[in-house]
Every structure is written in C-alpha cells, then in structure tokens.
Symmetry: C2
Amino acid sequence: MPISQQVQNQMKGASWIRRMFEQGVELKKKYGERSVFDLTLGNPMVEPPASFRAALREAVEGDVVGAHRYMPNIGYEATRAAVARSLAGDMGVALSASRVVMTVGAASALNVVLKSLLNPGEEVIVLAPFFPEYRFYVENHGGKMVVVGTSEQFDLDVEMIAAAMNDRTKAIIVNSPNNPTGVIYGAESFRKLNEYLEDHRRRTGRTVYVVSDEPYRKIVYETRRSPSPLAYCRDTVLCSSHSKDLAIPGERIGFAVVGPDVEDGELLLNAMAFNVRTLGFVNAPALMQRVVAGLQDDSVSVDWYREKRDRLYQALVGAGYDCRLPGGAFYFFPKCPIEDDVEFVRRLAERRVLAVPGSGFGVPGYFRLSYCCEDWTVDGAIPILEELGGLGGKSVGAATKATKGVSQTAGDLRPGFPLN
Amino acid sequence: MPISQQVQNQMKGASWIRRMFEQGVELKKKYGERSVFDLTLGNPMVEPPASFRAALREAVEGDVVGAHRYMPNIGYEATRAAVARSLAGDMGVALSASRVVMTVGAASALNVVLKSLLNPGEEVIVLAPFFPEYRFYVENHGGKMVVVGTSEQFDLDVEMIAAAMNDRTKAIIVNSPNNPTGVIYGAESFRKLNEYLEDHRRRTGRTVYVVSDEPYRKIVYETRRSPSPLAYCRDTVLCSSHSKDLAIPGERIGFAVVGPDVEDGELLLNAMAFNVRTLGFVNAPALMQRVVAGLQDDSVSVDWYREKRDRLYQALVGAGYDCRLPGGAFYFFPKCPIEDDVEFVRRLAERRVLAVPGSGFGVPGYFRLSYCCEDWTVDGAIPILEELGGLGGKSVGAATKATKGVSQTAGDLRPGFPLN
C-alpha cells in the first residue's frame, strides 16, 4: 500500500460519515438542490462586507511594483501591526506587530503552533464537543489528543481539565465561541483556568499553553466581542482567521498571536516563523494580507445570522428539543429526542434535512445544525425538525459531565469540505 | 523548553547561515541598499506578465456571489481542468481534472504528497545539490532524507540512485530545472530512471514514487519547456507553482498532479485531498485559483533572465571560474576558486557581493548566484567576481561524484526568506 498508515487510519475512522455525505449528494440529485435542506456546512452563505470589496478593488487597482513577491515569512509589517493594534484595543493587552504571524487561515495557524510546541507523545487537551479536525492537527505533529468534557451548559470546566493533566500535557485547545455549541466561555472561566495553570507551573515547573481558536470572535449576538484567553491566561497563543468575520473562507487568510507575557515567547515566535515556511505555507497570501490590513475592526453583520438563529430557536424549543440559545458562532447543538444520534440524523435525512451527529464532535446523543445557510434552507428544515421533535419525548438523560469518556473516533466529517 | 526538539535542532543547524544573513543586513545598513550586490534570493524582481494583471482585474471586477467561499478542498473544477489540459498538451500525457489537486504553492504540494506517502522511517532520496527545504518537508512527516550525488555535470545518475535504494525507500525527489545548478535533466535520464524503477518493482514488489518539483519548468532558455518525469516515469507526482512562471511567489498558488498510471493513484489522490485539508491548507486561495485558470500556457519572458545569464556567464568564465551555462531556472552554481566555500562567500561579502555557499545545498566547494535580481546588482557584482576569480587559480579537484558522502546538515539558509 502506498499510503501512510496513519493517514489511512484517519480516513477509515470517517467512512460512516462519508456514507452520510454521499447520501446527501444522492438526495440532492434525486429531489433537486432546492428540495434538500442542508444544515451541515460551516461555509457562510453571507457575502463579504462592502468594505472588503472596496479594499480588494483598491489593492488590485493600485497594484504596486513588487506586490506579488515574497515578503518575510511572518507577513507584512503593516498587516501584522494592524492585527496587533485591533486586538490590543479590544482586549486591553499590550501587543505589537512582533507578536503576530500572518497565516493561511486559522487551520494553518493551529498547525504551525502545534508543530512548534509538540514533542512526540506530548498531549493536547481538547474540550468536548470539539471541532473534529483538532485530532488531525495534533497527530500531524506527533502529539496525542486527550478529550475532556465540559459542564452541563457546555462551558469550560477547570476541574475536569485539571483531572486530565499529567507530565506530558503541553497544551489545551480552547474554542470560544464554540463550534458546535455556539457557547461563549466567560471571562471568569478563563481567569480560573489561568489561576490553575499558574499554580500548576509553580508546582511542576511545566508550562501548559492555551491555544485559543477564535474564528468566531466577532460573530456574537449580545456583546461586541467574545472574551479571549489572550486577555486572561498568561501563556496564550491566539489563532484566528477572516473566514467567518469577513466571510472569505476560500481566501485562506488568518493569523497567530503570541501573548505579551507567554513563557519563552520569543523562542516560540522564532519556531513559528520557521514552521510557517517549512510546513509549506511559506507566507499568507500577499494580496489578502494587504486587503485585510484595513479591515481589522470590520465584520459581516450578525443580524443576518441572528434572524435565522431566533427563528430556529423558537421552532426547536417549541418542538420540545433540549437546546441552548447560542451566544456566538452560527450553530445549534440540541439533544436528540432519541438516544442514537446517528439514527436520528438518518431519520432527518430521510426527510431531506441534513445535520451532523454529535458523535462527530465527540458527544453522542446530540446533533449540530448550522445556520450560515440561506433562508429557504431554514424555512424548509423547520417543519421537519418540528415533526421529529416529539419522537422520543424525553431527554436522553446523560448529562454532559458524562462526555469525559466519550468516543475519540470523530473523523473526516465532510470529505472534501471543511466543517468550520 | 517549550519548543519541539526536532524544530530546535533544525533551526540550530542553520545558525551559521543566519549569521551570514545578518552580516548582509549589516552591510546594507552600513553601505546603503544600492551598494550591496545581493545574489542570494530566489525572489524574482521581474513583474508578473500583463495577462496576469488583466486576469486579476477581471476576477475582481466580475466578482460573483460566492467567489470567496470554500470550494472542494482539491480546488475549482475549472482550474484543475485547465492545469490538466495544459500539461497534457505539453507532455502528450492523458490527464484530466481528477488527477489535479490545487495547492498553496509547490512547498504545500510537496508537504501534502510526502504526508500522504510516508510511514515513520521511510526514506526519500534527494539528489545533491538540492533545495535545502526538502529535508524539513521529509522530516515533517516522519521520513528520513537520503542524499545521493549527481554526475560531474550535475545530471541525474541512475546508478548512484540504485546504489542508495533499500526496502525503506519510498520516493525520490527530482528537481529539474534544478535549483541551485540550473541544470535540466534530459528525457533520456528519466527514461532510464523509469526502467530502473519498473525493474525494481518487478523484483521487490515495491513502488518508489518520483516526486517531481518543477516550479522552473517554463523558465528555460533553449526549448519551450523542460522534460518532465510525468511523461517518462510511470509513478510520478508532479508538484509545481506559479511563483516563478507568473512571478507571483507571494500569492501561494500551485498544484500537484498524479500521473495517469501511478500505482494506487486513486488512493493517493484521496489521501492528498484529505491532507490538503488536515495539514491546514484547506484549499488553495480562491481568487488566485480563478486568476490562474486562464494563464496555464503563460509565463514571464525568459529574455529578462537570459540577458543577465549571458552577461554573468561571460564574466565568470572569463575570470576562470569552472561553471556551466544554466539551461533553466535563474541560478549559477560555479566551483569556488578556493576549497572552503563558506570562506569564499565570506570574502565575496567583504566586497559587498552576497552569495550562498554550496554547503547549504549539500555540495561544499561551490557557491550559488541567483540572477533573478535587477541589472544594477549584476553590474555591481561582476567586477568583484572577476577580482576574486583568480584567487585559487585551479579547480577544487573533487568531482561531483564525490558528493555521495556530503554533509547532510544543510539548514535554514535564509531565516525569514525562502531560497527558491
């Protein structure tokens, strides 16, 4: 066999979801695109803000000599300074361009940071439910992913994290606003996490890094921005992108930011600059770096999402689903009315509503609905969700505390398409 | 220490070159940019062709709904079809879009292919002199790089490759037109390589893949295109980019192509699609994919390079350097007039001419000059090269056959800047 065994295993773990995906494709062929209500994708159907289009035209029309050449691997100084300035303003943290590395989206940032940190066998804690690609990012660089549960409200639980730590723990991946739950972790949670990690470091001499994946930081409904560990946890590396806030996921533009007081921060930044290059990214796309430099405080309007969120929430709660109103991102993560989430999602698909089972995110018994779709998709899905809402009648019972021992086989959820 | 030990070792191996780089920066500060003649960079100073600028404006002005969204990870069908059509026409090989994966430049393509192929400890043969980043690409995915020499003319030598093969050999990286020598491997060399690899497969049952890195395929001086292993070696994966032919290295757009008869080609393509996503590239930048779709047969004019090449060649040969006229790319790789290439490059730097020692490419006793620079750089460098040409008087003596046992410590040649 010519293919890496690790890659084969990773791909195999995902075969059941591949079948589901193929079922969706079949449904669309059979009934037509507009008769299938696809709530699986994290590919925003909203268009980029006008400011993005203006900045893009300006960058292309004012095309200067050398605009498409290599620049230093970490990116243009002006773009990095703009990222630092905006984050510093939002968070009240002292940041300069020297702490910022421009990347090919947040997935690139996460790979660069994990490659820089991990020795073989070192552990990275992720909090269930979790974005399933984290497993691959960790394994790419020889690390081991350790799944830790969250509270019944899907909030970060420091005690559960503490119970999973050992002398191989190198990092914790935190994702707030969360995919798939839409939950925003509070500032107080981050303060407690920092206290615990500082204490851990004093006791053991070992630094554990908080790798904060924040592509949804500006997609929030009740506040201007979600709290970031960068403002509360000393050893934080923030990873983000403009895929969601500017709705340009196809362009692959993001960044990693090393907090001002991070342990061995300079060394880490040097390693990240090296790995941006040697992992084959080389640098973030030049044109998009110039475009986003002036858009650091911009975002798509969340009203586009809020309207769908509110309509779906009313329908889900009305139909008896156990479900939280998401504070950010564009996902619902309701409890299934029957225990078997894969079976429930299959029943939805029979009725031409496509969703993702919670098992894919390490939490069986739930399902994810994405509402970054068009209105007709929400309109078509609601009656079906209402119809199936009464199926089980009562909740599954297993509180999320029980996610500690959940399946670690989440895999390739959408072959050929990213989930975020 | 927070940083991966592997990454630290890789970075440390490069510290002497970092010092050289810093010396260059110092020189430019001291004497002014225009008084230092920098022939180290592979960052073309030529501007993209007019067709690129037109296509970019058109893509931006005709900005359609959904233009910046995710597409399938392997890229737009139309772009992949255009790549396949152009290569099929050039090479007389049957290729369709299904064999093409769009990537974030050639460095991304190489990482994706190596990640897809390698199990821990499997070996990848590279031919010295070689682009030093290959070591990192191989090590990123658990492989071991094995350095094999080339002929006295720096041509591919199948016997030397055969002598280095064993049951852990998984792939051979071939780079023609070559960085750093400018040598083009002939069709006959590839035919012989294929014969040997076919025979090897019959004898051992093991397939060894030819990973062909061809960013300079269109930068050739005597023919329209350089021969590609894709046309001659059955198990070839071609990796390329538009960094050199369209002079847009900062935009990170390239592709990988799996030959029509490659062993387990479908499986390999599936793994590559998976790894484009999970290594964090996700997809090649959307806008650039649309721009390059119509430019597959375009290229910058090589006349811009030819003029500098001819002038430098005349000067080098006139000054007694042992040196070949490059058939492609934009590099010279002359023998140093003294044995110690690092010392020779130091002496050049004292006179404000910056070059890269051959040790960086696995072949001590030589040095690399890049002529993708501006005219004044070539003009300024020539008198100094002439002055130092007579230093040793006679050649170093060690034929390139002797490169079999060369240093494997080539490292981070240009911190913060790629060499190709």
